[in-house]
C-alpha cells in the first residue's frame, strides 16, 4: 500500500489544492499502484451512479390542518356504550323510585297526620318483563330494513355468484334465537334493576320510619308545649281576675 493513499483520494474527489494536485499527478506518473487505484476507482464511481433512487411523493405533512372531529367522535365506542347503559339504568331506577316514592309519600303523609306512629312500608314492585313486546320491537326493526320473514324460500343455485339470502326456515330459526337471546338479556337486566330498586326502596322506607319517629316526637313536644302555654295563659287569666 502506498503512503500517498490519502492524497490520492483527495485528488480523486477534487479536494486537493492546486499545488497538491500537481504533486499527486507527478506521483501517479511513477507509482503504478496509485495510478491503477485511481483508474479503477473512477470506474467504480461511474458504476455507483447506476444505483438510482425511486421517485417518492412528499411524506412531510406535519403542518396540515387537523381535521375537525366532533367531540362525540373522539369518545371511544365502548365508553359511549357504557354511558348509554348507565343512563338507561339510572333513568329507569330514578323513574321507578320516583313513582314508588310519590305513591308511598301520599300514603305516608295521610298516615302521619292521622297517627304519627304508623308509617306504611311499601315493598318495591318488580317490573313485569314482556318478552313478547321485545320480540315485537325486533320485528319492527327488521321490517323497517325490509326483512321479509314470511316470504317463501327460493332455491339458491350453487353456481350463483352471489347467494342472496339464507332459506326462510333458517332465517326464522335465527330470528327466534335472536329474540330469545335479546329477551334473556333484557330479563337479566330487569332483574338486576329490580334488585337494585328493592334495596333503594327499603332504604327509603327506613328513612321514612326515622322521619316518622322524628315527627311523632316533635308532635309530642308540640303538645307538651301547647299544654304548657295553655297552663301559663290560664294562670295569667286567673291572676288578672
Amino acid at each position: 500500500m502506498c503512503e500517498h493513499r490519502d492524497r490520492v483520494l483527495d485528488y480523486l474527489y477534487d479536494e486537493a489544492s492546486p499545488s497538491d494536485r500537481q504533486a499527486i499527478e507527478r506521483h501517479l506518473g511513477v507509482c503504478d499502484v496509485c495510478r491503477t487505484d485511481v483508474q479503477a476507482f473512477r470506474r467504480v464511481r461511474e458504476d455507483l451512479l447506476a444505483w438510482g433512487v425511486p421517485e417518492q411523493p412528499s411524506v412531510w405533512t406535519p403542518f396540515a390542518p387537523v381535521p375537525v372531529v366532533p367531540w362525540h367522535r373522539q369518545v371511544p365506542a365502548w365508553a359511549m356504550a357504557a354511558a348509554a347503559s348507565l343512563t338507561f339504568v339510572v333513568g329507569a331506577a330514578g323513574s321507578f323510585a320516583a313513582s314508588s316514592f310519590m305513591g308511598a309519600r301520599d300514603a305516608t303523609v295521610a298516615t302521619v297526620a292521622d297517627a304519627p306512629m304508623s308509617v306504611a312500608t311499601t315493598a318495591a314492585a318488580a317490573p313485569v318483563f314482556d318478552a313478547e313486546a321485545v320480540g315485537s320491537l325486533v320485528r319492527q326493526e327488521l321490517n323497517a330494513v325490509g326483512f321479509d320473514a314470511l316470504r317463501q324460500a327460493t332455491p339458491v343455485s350453487i353456481t350463483s355468484p352471489m347467494p342472496a339470502r339464507l332459506d326462510v326456515n333458517t332465517e326464522r330459526r335465527l330470528l327466534a334465537n335472536a329474540e330469545a337471546f335479546v329477551g334473556a338479556s333484557e330479563q337479566r337486566q330487569w332483574l338486576r334493576i329490580r334488585d337494585y330498586l328493592t334495596v333503594v326502596a327499603n332504604e327509603q322506607n327506613l328513612e321514612r320510619v326515622r322521619d316518622g319517629e322524628s315527627l311523632t316526637h316533635l308532635a309530642r313536644e308540640v303538645l307538651l308545649l301547647r299544654e304548657a302555654v295553655n297552663g301559663l295563659l290560664a294562670a295569667q287569666q286567673s291572676r288578672v281576675q
Binding site: 493513499r5 490519502d6 479536494e15 479503477a40 467504480v44 464511481r45 447506476a50 444505483w51 425511486p54 406535519p62
Partner: protein, 202 residues
Amino acid sequence: MTSDEELVTRATAGDQDAFSQLVTRWERPIYALAYRTLGREEEARDVVQDAFLRAYRGLKGFKGEAKFSSWLYRITLNLCRDWMRKERRAPLAQVPEGVDPIDLADQQAAPTESVEDLVARREMSAAVQLAMADLPEEQRTAIMLKEYHGLTFQEIAEMLDCPLSTVKTRLYQGLSVLRRRLERQQAESASLRRAHWESTTL
C-alpha cells in the same frame, strides 16, 4: 435563494413556512440516504418523516456549529442505525428479477438511450446494490455520503465523529471491495452474454 441558515433562524422563531422550505429542499436527499442505507422504500419514508419531526422539535437546540444538512444527515443515519439495530436486519438490496419493458421505459434516462443500455444500467444498478449491501456499515456510510451526497472528507468526519484519516481509510477500503466485486460481476455478465450469443447464433 434563501440560505439554510436563514431559514433555520426563521423556523426557530416559529415560521412554519420556513421549515417547510427546508423540508422541500432536503427531503429528496434525506430519502435517498435512508433508502440506500436501509434498502427499503417504506422504512425509508418512515425515517424521513421521523427525521424531519426530530429536526423540527430540536431546532432550538441546533446551534449552527455544523451545516443544517449535516445535522439532518446525522439524524437520519442515527434513525437508520436504530431501525437496523431494533429490527436486527441488514440493508436489503431490492433487486428486481427479470426485465419488464414498461419498467425499463420508465427508467429510461434519455430518449436516445437504447434498450441494451437500459438493461446494462439496470444490471449495474442491481450489482451495485448487492455489493453495497455486503459492505460493513462504516464503509457503506462513508461511500454514500461521499458519492451520493457530495460531502467533503471533513464534513463526513465531523458527522461521524471520527478522525479524517479514518474516513479516508473506510472510503478506500470500501472502494477497493466494490472494485473487486463489480469487476467480478461484470466478468460473469460478459461470460453469460457471450454464452447466450453463442447458443443463439451457432
